[in-house]
């Protein structure tokens, strides 16, 4: 009965144990990204709801993200601000957080979704070597934020098809099925990401949003950067805002949303709802293909010698010096643009005026840092 265990069986057993240990060690790190970020809404907050309140099918799904609502006493315009469509574009996300932790609204309504693709915040893109989180200094201590992936977590939406044809009929490579900003107008019975897109469309329709903003970042070598991408229904507003920004010495490119590129927020929001649709881009070196060593510092300070070199070679679409483009500058840009768009909306249509109090001033953020306007960690 007593049989000697064969050597290769023993090795197999050891290797299996080793595999298990490695799974556990790395699994703990992967799972650490599922811990949610804490935000501290300003006292001006009227209600905190969820996207599933607009599209119940999302309830309890990893895509059910928080919606922060600020309602003014007076009737006015309705504004939607989306951050975190791509969780690896932190300036958009942080701008939304900064707004929800500071503003008060006396006229009109503002809806803020800081983490539009919540699932994307729970994992990192393979091959990018990015850190899992980054921190910003506030007067009361350091606050950490997740740095996620451009795409929905594959464990939340599996498998990718070979070819993704989105609800607007555009054919894209399979992985784009997890890209929120290729999934509009979304699909009630589609993949999770399409359902999130559908939920956002529902919010825009039900809350009768007048102006919807999608805050992004792009690589400095990408032609649409430091740009205001507008649907044709918001061309005039974009022009007004870009001139206003120019007066504040902020150069911004105007880019018309191409009608042939379907599935993007600035296209489908404008096509399928009465809302004006605008997407804003800033330049983020940690996003590009030329980036050097990825690090928390690259995300926050935005300094990269590779991009300085690329800039000298004339390959970039933004000025880029050895000082880099720090996140405070990128967030300040977004803040200034949001402000300019809101005042442009008032100019165009006084009925849709929105009065915002405690709006974090772009210039101060740029000069003194984001932390000044962030709630200290508890």
């Amino acid at each position: 009965m007593k049989e000697k265990i064969k050597k290769h069986h023993l090795i197999a057993l050891c290797l299996l144990c080793l595999t298990g240990t490695l799974c556990w060690l790395t699994g703990v790190q992967f799972l650490s990204m599922r811990k949610t970020d804490t935000f501290y809404p300003s006292p001006g907050l009227s209600a905190q709801t969820k996207l599933s309140d607009y599209f119940p099918q999302l309830a309890d799904s990893p895509g059910d993200t928080a919606v922060y609502c600020f309602r003014g006493e007076e009737e006015g315009g309705n504004l939607l601000i989306l951050g975190g469509t791509h969780p690896n574009e932190p300036a958009g996300f942080i701008t939304a957080v900064l707004l929800l932790e500071n503003i008060t609204v006396s006229r009109g309504k503002i809806f803020i979704i800081p983490q539009a693709n919540l699932s994307g915040f729970t994992h990192d893109d393979p091959f990018e070597g990015n850190p899992q989180k980054f921190s910003l200094e506030t007067p009361g201590g350091r606050r950490w934020f997740r740095f996620g992936s451009r795409l929905t977590n594959p464990t939340h939406q599996w498998p990718d098809p070979t070819l993704f044809t989105n609800a607007a009929g555009q054919a894209l490579s399979g992985a784009e099925v997890r890209n929120l900003n290729r999934s509009y107008p979304g699909k009630e019975k589609g993949h999770l990401t399409e359902q999130i897109a559908f939920g956002i469309m529902e919010l825009i329709k039900k809350e009768e949003i007048d102006l919807s903003l999608d805050l992004h970042e792009a690589a400095p070598e990408y032609p649409v950067v430091n740009a205001i991408v507008f649907h044709e229904n918001s061309a005039e507003l974009a022009a007004i805002a870009s001139m206003e920004l120019q007066m504040e010495d902020i150069d911004i490119r105007m880019e018309a949303s191409p009608p042939s590129l379907r599935g993007l927020s600035h296209r489908e929001w404008g096509d399928h709802t009465p809302s004006m649709a605008i997407l804003l881009e800033t330049a983020n070196a940690s996003h590009g293909r030329l980036k050097g060593k990825p690090s928390e510092a690259l995300i926050v300070e935005g300094k990269d010698p590779n991009y300085v070199k690329a800039s000298k070679l004339g390959m970039l679409f933004v000025p880029y010096s050895k000082d880099g483009i720090p996140i405070k500058e990128r967030v300040a840009r977004h803040l200034a643009a949001v402000n300019a768009l809101v005042s442009g909306l008032r100019e165009l249509n006084p009925d849709q005026a929105i009065d915002i109090g405690n709006f974090p001033p772009a210039q101060t953020v740029n000069e003194q840092g984001i932390g000044l306007y962030l709630h200290p960690p508890k």
């Binding site: 498998p159 070819l163 032609p223 293909r289």
Partner: protein, 422 residues
């Protein structure tokens, strides 16, 4: 340690382990990635290593399931039957045979955008036919590998262009004609180049004598079901998306395999999956290793260094840079090459028509599937003809690959003219 030094050390360590100590390539890659992480001051960086390997998880699923499907076709006798049918049809028509064979190999690649899917499905079907008609094993494998790559580039689905287009906001529209301009001449030239001289024209008796056993009498139409099911499901992808999500290529191959159980000569399914595992294990481990290698390369700044080095070439050398770097970078897969280098190159050529540029770049990036250590198309083509050393196959792919490279560069240079014509 500067980033290029870390990268070069990783390459040297890989070479020592793989060539000096004769470790499996996949394992060597894993260890060189680990060494890179240590040298870069990142510690063991286990999270990064495992995360990197996940970059190829979907590819690994496709490979394993495609391999199972191929083994099912073999074990059930379907492969022999199809060989017999093809032989009977084509034994005395050389050019028609070669062109048909090319089209058959390309087909799964055309609808899935993956050279692996093509080589392991229809490539496996036609390999025995070519060998029986006198083409050497390695040349057959080269033909299949090139067919897989051309299928990957050919319309309607070219994932490489989609990846590049995604990086520059170019919709996947209007690519059919530019891609056909590239692929059709190549398909004709390459199939004739590799096969015309060696393929024998047989008389009926000769053909009869080499005919493998056919099961078509016994099982009839049922025999074709597994292949038909796979092809139909591949074509049908996207049609179902209105009421249910697509099932994806791995599930398609598995469905085909399961259908195979009931359609022909009985066989032991578990043994088949074990065989498939065994044959695909080296490449699975290589892919995991390559994923780790790239992640650590990015983490230590090596990737940025490489991309910058090629992009900062003077304009005269830009085309040379494209010709060298895109296939070379394909060593980490053609998709990776399209994403990491294809996008910046499109931007560097921004004054040309992006549709034609991306079509041409995809032809060049596609060659990456011939680049060791991954060399997906080369390795699997060698495997289906039973050739142990895939470098022998790659040797015969060299001239066809140069044709393809020349075509790609030619189209890039002539983009303004082609734009006027189409």
């Amino acid at each position: 340690m500067p980033e290029y030094a870390i990268f070069l050390s990783m390459v040297v360590i890989f070479a020592i382990l793989a060539m000096g100590l004769k470790l499996p390539i996949g394992v060597s890659l894993v260890f060189s990635a680990l060494a890179g992480a240590l040298l870069g001051g990142e510690g063991l960086a286990l999270r990064h290593l495992v995360e990197g390997s996940f970059g190829y998880f979907d590819t690994i699923l496709i490979i394993v399931t495609a391999m199972i499907f191929m083994k099912v076709l073999q074990a059930s006798g379907i492969l022999d039957t199809i060989t017999a049918i093809l032989l009977k049809t084509f034994y005395k028509r050389k050019v028609t045979l070669l062109l048909t064979v090319m089209a058959i190999v390309m087909f799964p690649g055309m609808i899935t955008g993956s050279s692996t899917a093509a080589v392991l499905s229809t490539g496996a079907l036609i390999a025995p036919v070519l060998i029986k008609l006198g083409l050497s094993k390695v040349k057959t494998a080269a033909l299949i590998a090139m067919g897989g790559i051309l299928g990957m580039i050919a319309p309607p689905v070219n994932i490489l262009v989609m990846i590049m287009g995604g990086g520059v906001d170019m919709p996947y529209i209007g690519l059919t004609i530019p891609l056909l301009i590239i692929v059709i001449p190549l398909a004709i030239i390459i199939s004739l180049w590799l096969g015309y001289k060696d393929i024998q024209i047989l008389d009926y008796e000769q053909m009869k004598s080499i005919l493998p056993e056919s099961y078509s009498q016994e099982y009839g139409f049922r025999l074709s079901l597994p292949v038909l099911v796979v092809i139909l499901l591949m074509i049908g992808q996207g049609f179902t998306s209105s009421f249910m999500p697509d099932i994806g290529i791995p599930a398609i191959f598995l469905v085909g395999s399961l259908v195979g159980i009931f359609c022909a000569r009985p066989f032991n399914f578990f043994k088949v999956t074990q065989d498939a595992m065994k044959e695909s294990m080296p490449i699975l481990c290589i892919l995991a290793g390559v994923g780790m290698f790239i992640q650590i390369m990015t983490l230590t700044g090596g990737r940025g260094w490489i991309v910058m080095s090629f992009l900062s070439l003077p304009p005269v050398l830009l085309y040379l840079g494209i010709s060298i770097s895109m296939p070379l970078f394909g060593a980490v897969s053609a998709y990776g090459s399209a994403s990491i280098l294809g996008v910046p190159f499109i931007l560097a050529l921004i004054n040309k028509n992006a549709i034609i540029t991306s079509a041409a770049l995809s032809a060049i990036a596609g060659l990456g599937d011939l680049m060791p250590p991954t060399a997906l198309a080369g390795i699997f083509a060698a495997q289906i003809v039973g050739e142990k050393n895939y470098f022998k196959v790659l040797r015969y792919c060299l001239v066809p690959a140069l044709f393809e490279l020349a075509m790609g560069i030619g189209v890039l240079l002539l983009a303004p003219v082609i734009e006027k014509i189409i």
